[in-house]
């Protein structure tokens, strides 16, 4: 009896397994980010991945396993821009740098942004643990860092929690609500430039210390 590849005792993965798992996860990202978990079907994912449905199940334990694998893989890199915010840099530039990285991610990885957005909007049924264990500590850490900067007079006083969340709200909006944005601001290139400038203006305005 050939042991299925993705079992609890993890074995080395062959080249084929690595390649096919990648293809599946990419296809699943397409489908899940467009329909959410319940709205997505294995057939859709299989077709997008260019393989048969039973073949999906050969590489992943089921629909839920694919979704979880996706969320796990993405959670890490999704938080990287925030991790990079460093205590040793110039406060205003650190925050603006974070804003820029986040905007860049929205433009380059809109599917990932939407996947998270849908998951959260639907109550994060498969991600709440990650929010508590990964996001929350990082969030608290960076809030403390920002609070420290503010105490030192390097930034205007703001609620750090609200500050970070407003960065998320603004930067993710352009990925998540892309359809709407494109209706209202048809010129995509100009829209992005304007968005970048606008968001930067906002955070410069509320963070520049008033001397």
């Amino acid at each position: 009896m050939p042991a299925p590849p993705a079992k609890t005792p993890e074995k080395k993965r062959s080249r084929i397994q690595i390649r096919n798992r990648r293809k599946i996860m990419d296809a699943a990202l397409d489908v899940f980010s467009q329909h959410g978990f319940r709205g997505a079907t294995l057939d859709q994912i299989a077709e997008a991945a260019g393989m048969s449905k039973p073949n999906l199940i050969y590489y992943f334990d089921g629909k839920e396993a694919i979704h979880v694998a996706l969320l796990n893989a993405l959670m890490t890199e999704w938080l990287d821009p925030l991790r990079e915010m460093d205590a040793s840099g110039d406060p205003l530039e650190e925050i603006l740098g974070y804003v820029r990285r986040k905007m860049e991610m929205s433009r380059q990885f809109p599917r990932e942004s939407r996947l998270f957005a849908i998951e959260i909007i639907q109550g994060a049924p498969r991600m709440l643990p990650h929010l508590e264990s990964d996001l929350k500590p990082l969030f608290d850490e960076k809030c403390a860092l920002i609070a420290g900067w503010m105490d030192a007079g390097k930034l205007a006083l703001q609620d750090p929690q609200q500050l970070i969340m407003s960065i998320w709200a603004l930067t993710q909006h352009f990925a998540d609500f892309d359809t709407q944005v494109r209706v209202l601001v048809p010129d995509e290139v100009a829209g992005w430039d304007a968005a970048n400038a606008h968001v930067e203006t906002i955070f410069r305005a509320i963070l520049t210390p008033t001397g």
Copy 2:
């Protein structure tokens, strides 16, 4: 053969029809805003509405008809806060008033906010026409109004399109990403107050004319 109530030649609706259609739409709002269109099932809606599935179909032509009816009904009132922004008022107060009304809607009608959010994120398959026909004209009109205020020196110069979209991004974030917000800022009441204050700070900061 008793003619189904909701046909092309619209007839008067009885008290029972009005009551039951309301119940169905309220239940559908619950379910659709939590699972999206494809992820929602008629059985879920029927149970939430406290009636049998065939009874749903008696009042609406099908799943899609319920969803469309919901979106139609909501689109109107959802744009009301923006419509109220008036040329004759004080510019800064008009915009801040809009921001406050939008925040209030996010708090009072999170389901509606999520329903729209999911629909847009998924590419607005059933709402694109409305975006073009309802939202776009209003958006353009209010952009022109704001641009006029800025030209007159009553507001700091900003891109009006980006300004309105950033209002949406910030105000809707608290409804749509409620699950995440609650993980990071457990005290709901305090969080809400802080959010209101923060959002107001932002728009005051970037709109107050620098005289």
